[in-house]
Symmetry: C2
Subunit: 174 residues, 2 copies
């Protein structure tokens, strides 16, 4: 069975949606999709609001209630029948995210057992056949088939097989 | 630079020493090294004490104060100059161990940055050149060079390159 590594943030979970909502609610600052195109979140907000990104992302609970990406539950469940699915998240960057991410997976993707949860940093250690990720830095040493999941920040990146939705992932891999 | 994946429990950290101490202190039960040879910890204790293993290992804090294996700090630090060292622990089996293991590493192995911390389950996802581990199940799909770190439970296992101490790891890899 082929090993399929799937990223969490901006692929299974809509992390940026939570940031956008937070900036609106707590700072009264509206982030439009145009402001994010080809940019990092911290580049889309005024300089004085930048520290909020770092602050919130290190907060306990931040990753616990992220919205699930449309169709992700259904498609990942189906992929899990055909591939050995590993969820591979760079959670080690945020020590306080481990339990939130684990609990989130248990709630929304209960068919992914602990054996298939990988919380890492540098993804060059991942030895999978296929990797779905929104960050091309994670593909730099990857020997398998990389599939770029579209996110505003990677909008202008070329030269990768790209999917825009989980429906498209299903069309490609199922 | 070659990628070297190093296991935590029973390799960097003396997990069983903590169990042995606990059984003695809390249950008045002494575990000798003879009782552990070629066995799992739960096989070395009377049936009525078996549930303690599961209970304690899932406790918050259990992994936070494990003794560091002799010479591990010095040798891993030296290895980290010559190899790309990843600490790869099957922490996902114990959700409550994530933060403890992260904090333990930060305290005793501060030179291992978050990019090189991998908390996984099934280690078949690890794509490294060398793996030091006490569990041969972690070598079953491993394409690199496996090095078995001696632990009482693996005493009778043959057919693997074996090290008994960190001093021996140094002799082999440095």
């Amino acid at each position: 069975m082929l090993k399929l590594a799937i990223d969490m943030d901006e692929v299974m979970a809509d992390t940026w949606a939570k940031f956008i909502q937070r900036f609106k609610e707590r700072e009264g600052f509206e982030i439009t999709s145009e402001m994010l195109t080809g940019k990092e979140l911290s580049q889309a907000v005024p300089a004085e609001l930048k520290p909020r990104v770092h602050e919130w992302i290190n907060e306990k609970g931040f990753f616990r209630d992220l919205p699930v990406m449309k169709d992700a539950q259904r498609v990942v469940k189906e992929l899990n029948q055909k591939y050995e699915v590993f969820v591979a998240s760079a959670a080690s960057e945020f020590r306080n995210s481990y339990e939130d991410k684990y609990d989130w997976l248990e709630e929304f993707f209960p068919f992914i057992d602990w054996r298939h949860i990988v919380f890492c940093g540098d993804k060059s250690i991942i030895g999978a056949d296929i990797m779905i990720d929104d960050r091309i830095r994670n593909f730099s040493q990857f020997k398998g088939r990389p599939i770029l999941y579209s996110s505003p920040h990677n909008h202008f990146i070329k030269d990768y097989e790209r999917v825009n939705t989980w429906e498209e992932v299903a069309g490609l891999l199922l």
